[in-house]
Point group: C2
Chain length 409, copies 2
């Protein structure tokens, strides 16, 4: 089997005005849809980060991909890493936002989808087989502004409980994650305590202020939330900061910010900075890399959860397959999926029931493109004129005095 064409289509999908420590989600989130055609008439699908950087990176490595056997993934990865190290063809500055790990990951997913379709096997089977058939996800609770969506403004503890109630009713979630770093830390503490009171101790809670807090705030919040959190995610920036918080916090710390690549693991482990790593195949170098991360976490006694960005159904299918194949992934995964009402896959959005997504049963990822939907969302991308995510600028349109907290709240 040989790759005959690599097609990448940027799309813009409607996104509600969600808040985080980085600012405010713009009306459109950007994604890139990857299609790898093969000489067997099979097309493999992938989905990754959006905007100008991935487009430039895909263009730079196109000659490494077309003409290659989709099974030859490790050689492709090594070639991309070398190319990234050389930083040729104007890829240099783009690589800051979309480096070799992310680039290879998107191509690996599409290759594995093609292999699965060619052999009649699911991607999770190609990764070693499914340790589970239903993947638990956590409700991803956001503070938000009122917008063109049915959720209304959510900027108080009471409103977040209401949002959680609707999420639970609609999707059956059995874990709740609150995106923090938005309100005053004391209000976020109060939000967690209100969630605990509303849903009881059987519903694990998580809080993620995206490293907005100071050490003093993190220590205070951690002490106040003793017994209330399954884990506290990225309270402060950096491995040293996390290590200092971890030494006193009564709950485990998790991260998708200070450990985002294999190279970060040795220092984080030596300094006992985190107890739980949030995997993300888009960021960590692919699906096999995530299986390998699982092995490392098991060997070093770390827990494993999963991070999410705004995404569509191809990414959800890939997340589901990889989560099935990684036995160490015992925490419910994050997903923004219900916040995005649009879709590029045929048949509409994948179902979340009882807080879980079933691993698709078809070959490969088990999803197919809806070309009309893809075309419409690509048109939207061309019209929207956004080529890079910038939540801070979006936030300043609403509140010109807003500034991002990074370890100083």
């Amino acid at each position: 089997m040989i790759v005959t064409d690599l097609r990448v289509t940027p799309v813009a999908i409607a996104d509600p005005p969600l808040r985080s420590a980085f600012g405010l989600h713009a009306p459109f989130a950007l994604r890139t849809i990857v299609e790898l055609d093969t000489d067997e008439g099979i097309t493999g699908l992938g989905e990754t980060y959006g905007g100008a950087a991935p487009l430039a990176a895909f263009a730079a490595v196109r000659p490494l991909v077309v003409g290659r056997d989709p099974y030859d993934l490790t050689p492709l990865r090594l070639d991309i890493e070398r190319r990234g190290a050389e930083r040729a063809d104007g890829w240099a500055w783009e690589a800051r936002r979309f480096g070799p790990a992310a680039l290879f990951s998107a191509l690996e997913v599409a290759c594995l989808d093609a292999i699965g379709k060619a052999t009649g096997r699911r991607v999770c089977d190609l990764l070693g087989g499914a340790a589970r058939e239903r993947i638990d996800f956590a409700a991803y609770l956001f503070f938000k502004h009122a917008g063109d969506d049915p959720w209304g403004e959510v900027l108080s503890p009471d409103a977040i409980v209401e949002e959680a109630r609707t999420m639970r009713d609609r999707y059956g979630y059995r874990s709740l994650k609150l995106k923090g770093g938005v309100l005053d830390p004391d209000l976020e503490v109060q939000s967690i305590l209100c969630l605990r009171e509303a849903f009881g101790s059987d519903v694990p809670l998580r809080l993620d202020p995206n490293a907005a807090w100071s050490l003093a705030t993190a220590h205070r919040v951690a002490a106040r939330l003793a017994g209330a959190l399954e884990y506290l995610e990225d309270p402060v920036p950096g491995i040293d900061g996390m290590s200092a918080v971890a030494a006193q916090a009564p709950m485990p710390l998790a991260t998708n910010m200070c450990v985002t690549a294999f190279d970060h693991l040795p220092e984080a482990i030596a300094k006992r900075a985190v107890a739980i790593v949030l995997s993300d195949h888009h960021m960590w170098g692919g699906m096999r890399a995530t299986v390998e991360l699982g092995r490392i976490c098991r060997a070093f006694g770390l827990g494993l959860s999963m991070h999410s960005n705004s995404h569509l159904g191809i990414s959800l299918a890939a997340m589901t397959h990889v989560a099935a194949a990684v036995p160490e992934l015992t925490f419910a995964c994050d997903t923004h999926y219900p916040w995005q009402t649009e879709e590029v896959i045929a048949g509409g959005k994948l179902a979340i029931e009882d807080g879980a997504v079933r691993v698709p049963s078809g070959p490969g990822l088990g999803v197919e493109l809806d070309r009309d939907a893809l075309g419409a969302l690509h048109e939207r991308y061309l019209r929207a004129g956004i080529t890079v995510r910038d939540d801070a600028s979006e936030m300043r349109k609403v509140d010109p005095s807003w500034r991002q907290h990074v370890g100083d709240w």
Copy 2:
């Protein structure tokens, strides 16, 4: 695809009287040949350790294997680990010699061979693709007694140089490994210096006394061999001992004794006990596990080489495929293969040319069974009456006063 039968055949293969710190190789080395039949008429092959322990372990897990899809490897591994933890069915004591990692590995190899044959792909491709097509091996030099072989007695520095010369002439090896822990440490130092003089500094040398030495001896040998060794393997027992030697030794230390499982890595890394890990898919839980070990070594800055036991061509093919798929495996691998003149694969022994083995090009492992040869070697097993390797007893037949040095030479 479903596994319809699991057949395991113990064999005994002629082995020369090779010496090591453990004693003397018996006239026969034991191996087990694994055959997994499937409902598609395809049979997957594997090879692993020999004797009674593997046979008992395979029998204990047979119900976990037959009826399963060969793609469902991670679930099989988890089931075997659970079964090993329960230690049911008399497997308890056998597991000391042949635990879940070794057992799963043998089954994984056979499943991957079956998948490769079913899909027309090489096993290395199923592991992510080949980073290299020729796998470098090191000549495995042994002190030995005279026996029913053309090598004669080799118990001096001059004789080992002669053995190395023949090995180089015959197989083109470009690295040399000396199995030590046999002669007085000073004679082994002299052997290395003679090899260096005979072959020059372009030929990397290694010395492996299998943890026979004391700390004092290890320090003295390491100092005397400064600049002469690519690495020094297992000079002393245990992670703490290795750590003490590593702190002073001018060359990197390697191990296949104090780090033989993922669980050993955290302590070894924290104590900087070794610079190079010797992988072995038979021991480390399989081929995918070895790929994962490669990722760990890369992340933690460890080198990766490969360990060997006496083995046949199915194991060599598997070692070659996994070495092809692990880019981090940059050191020439160990193999006893030329010491075993018998074979169970059709077409006779795989070729070692220019010190390297080409990854077999056929589907799966790329080797097939010679059933007549298998039958003959199985008959030999039944006649030989050996069910466990015991180099110490074999040595005492020759020298009743011999005792094994463990960290005290």
